[in-house]
Assembly symmetry: C2
Homo-oligomer: 159 residues x 2
């Protein structure tokens, strides 16, 4: 299959949002996406750039994307967080996902980041096996904790 | 106990590093800390600030700290990652940890962040119970994946 990877442009954000919504449905959270294409443009292309996006394009259509940004490990130093890596359902199994993954890893290595991290659902065995095959570790003993906007407001209002 | 919270200064980074090393020992990874105080000064106080630190101070001694930075959720938007929250062993149980935690949550709420996230070891039941009591969720179905500097180099060298 013919596809190319390139840095995303502002005008890609509508297509990127469609991919985000497709993944949320795959992850059984179809209503969790509160973000808009305008948010993505503002946060990704403004003067305080919160993330970078690389897209996979075929016949002028965006068929995959990866979104990532810097984090900081107090053990290792600057790291990259791979927040999303999404390929359209109908284009899976064609090497697009692993090409996007490699692109982020190449970026991290080239720019001297000490680690790349991401999160994966425990039932997504295909993904976990792929990550392990590339030299990544998938940890069993760390859990993710989050406080969302509503709970945050409740907590802050009560202290 | 008398303590105050304040933004960290460059000159606090030696003390902050000691706390990071104390936590690494508690987490059974005493040799995992590769970072230096110079790295922390450069990365936290340079022109591209990778994180913020709030310290707890008592009698001119740094007895606790929290380090955090911005992330981005493609579902919710801008979020805060609470990377570390550490209180000196001998000063635990005096409300310093929850004061630091509240400070980060207040910062996130005030600055309109949509979420605060962090990671916790599954055997650290005291911490998990505390987080849940504040309205946070601790997820069982997400795993953390990481590729470290050496594996990253190996992978990139082979593609």
């Amino acid at each position: 299959m013919n596809f190319k990877l390139r840095k995303a442009r502002q005008t890609d954000m509508e297509s990127v949002l469609l991919l985000i919504k497709e993944l949320a449905t795959f992850e059984k959270e179809p209503n969790a996406v509160q973000i808009t294409a305008e948010n993505l443009v503002e946060d990704g292309f403004g003067n305080k750039q919160a993330f970078q996006v690389i897209v996979a394009e075929s016949d002028d259509e965006i068929i995959g994307m990866t979104l990532f940004y810097s984090r900081y490990s107090t053990w290792k130093g600057k790291s990259i967080h791979l927040e999303d890596l999404i390929v359209q359902q109908k284009h899976r199994g064609k090497g697009i996902g692993s090409a996007l993954y490699s692109e982020v890893l190449k970026y991290a290595h080239k720019n001297n980041y000490k680690r790349v991290a991401w999160e994966v659902l425990d039932w997504n065995k295909v993904a976990i096996d792929f990550y392990r095959s590339t030299g990544a570790k998938v940890f069993d003993n760390w859990k993710i904790a989050q406080i969302d906007e509503q709970a945050l407001k409740r907590y802050v209002d009560n202290i």
